[in-house]
Symmetry: C3
Subunit: 246 residues, 3 copies
């Protein structure tokens, strides 16, 4: 098995989107590309990552393989890539390690121990959402950070022609109203309102590029589904709601 990535920094930005939520994870590698789906340790959030074959300069993989590693350590190593480096990823099955080789002026091998991953893949929740909205990543992240000032919980609501973000805390209250016309798109079946922990929404969107489109799928008292792309990589997240006790 060998994966070659021309731009190690780009691959790091993809792993960022996963590692903000979980510390270790199991990549599934096949001739189709690389995927990873996992729940966060507290089991309230799921991340589903996929990077297709086209994102790699080379993808040699005869049979499907799973590779579980510490993503924090992986990311620290990826952060050490230099601008001209080409990254090659292989398996050292004898030593049970993942080998990352950066080739530039020097030849740098990093070996990461393989971990024993969870055997079963979490299943993607089947939810019929009532509202779907799309807006710029920067716009949604700004709204979240406004809310995070005031509370550890954020209410997301889609209603008649409007998307509303609310937060209520001891030091104040916030209500942000965005008209359908100010968003990239909005489809509404029924009014949808649910409350989510701010930290998770922040973790899930931190790696989202400012100018990428974020899709939100909402249904009252149901998990939110959040999607965006980082270049060719696709990220899908689910996050369970909290009960609003007011």
């Amino acid at each position: 098995m060998e994966l070659v990535i021309e731009d190690a920094k780009y691959f790091k930005s993809c792993v960022d989107a996963i590692v903000n939520l979980v510390d270790e994870g199991t990549f599934e590698i096949s001739s189709e590309g690389v995927t990873l789906r996992t729940m966060d340790p507290s089991q309230i959030a799921m991340v589903d990552f996929s990077l297709p074959r086209e994102a790699f300069a080379k993808l040699d993989c005869d049979a499907k393989r799973t590779v579980c590693v510490n993503l924090v350590d992986l990311n620290k190593i990826l952060a050490r890539s230099r601008p001209q480096d080409k990254l090659s990823i292989k398996l050292d099955e004898k030593e049970s390690k993942l080998v990352l080789e950066f080739k530039g002026e020097s030849k740098r091998h990093f070996k990461l121990p393989l971990l024993e991953g969870a055997s079963a893949l979490p299943r993607e929740p089947k939810i019929v959402f009532d509202a779907t909205l799309q807006m710029k990543g920067s716009a949604f992240k700004n709204m979240l950070h406004d809310a995070g000032l005031l509370s550890s919980h954020v209410i997301l609501q889609a209603d008649d022609g409007e998307f509303v973000v609310e937060a209520h805390g001891d030091s104040g209250d916030l209500r942000i109203e965005t008209k359908k016309e100010s968003m990239e798109s909005m489809k509404l079946g029924a009014k949808s309102r649910a409350m989510f922990p701010f930290e998770y929404l922040d973790d899930m969107t931190r790696a989202c590029p400012e100018d990428a489109s974020v899709s939100l799928h909402l249904k009252s008292e149901a998990p939110v589904k959040l999607e965006y792309s980082i270049g060719k990589a696709k990220l899908v997240y689910y996050l369970a709601p909290r009960v609003e006790s007011v």
Copy 2:
């Protein structure tokens, strides 16, 4: 009552100059503009802030009102303004909250709870100063930071044609001499020398723009009066001296 501010970032820089000294404060709002005068919690420093009517895009205020809020929370909210935002400030008297509305792509309402402010305004000290100097904010801040390296106390002295800053500590001594000709102006009635806590001088000048003029009014063993402007806003501070025990 409604106040409209075109540049929320500017208003934040004004509140910075107050919040560096006190956590909460009572604004007095009238058709003339907005003022705030308060002592710091340890009662050794006073700040007197005024922002005239001309600084507002709109100032609707039939009768004088006092509005006491947590300035730290207010400033966090002001920090969330975006470049194109127009800020409108109103009172929600029913809920007893201050309403900050930012209008841009979205409509964002922040509500800050009103606090019970101190009833009596501190009186401005009546001091006949012996020396008045004026210099660039950057120059005075540099002198303070030099002094802060060595001691928690700074001696300010105006003498024959010279302004002197001194600091004495275990790790060394500092003496900065600035000739009258190197300052913007200097008027001297009698030699003036007094010692002040560095942290307060630092807090009082941190929001001073680098190229603004700072005025210092000195008298031996008396409070220092320090003045500067941030655009149309005027800041006046008083700080009590410490007894120099050498």
Copy 3:
């Protein structure tokens, strides 16, 4: 005695290279220039600094003098220099202080207490090294930081036409191979391999300019000698090896 330095910031960068290893030190000042040689407190590293007469705008020194000061405090003061400042260094023998005078718009005197320095100079180790390599400071620092990710110890090895950096830790392994042709120079008598504490190598190279040449002198299980220049200043370091227990 008087030393005049046109560029106080440059002098700070020289002191940086010493203070990263030791908190206080004794400068020897003569008409030839300024030197300082000292062991770090744990006695495993030595720094030998020299700044020749040519680096000073003025160097008045009739007899050899030793000046021991707290280098951390000295560096904080040097950090307060402003772009146009000219720095003059004198001794106040009566007060037993070092006087640093910055002359710009204001005249700023800092006085640093003189300390009682160690009486005996450490002797430079006499080692016949087996390998000498030269590369860009940036390249060597990058290798060290790669290694520092994985372990508190770094193995440096020079072998047949190759310089190798290794690190082994719980979270992974690293091997960096650099061919002789990719370095500025490499002379090899015999294979040399030794292990060193990362923190010390990092402290010793932190002040090395990115584009300066670093020389490494190696011998198996012997101290490493590391040299570089900061402008006209020459820095030589020795660092004792650790026993590799594998």
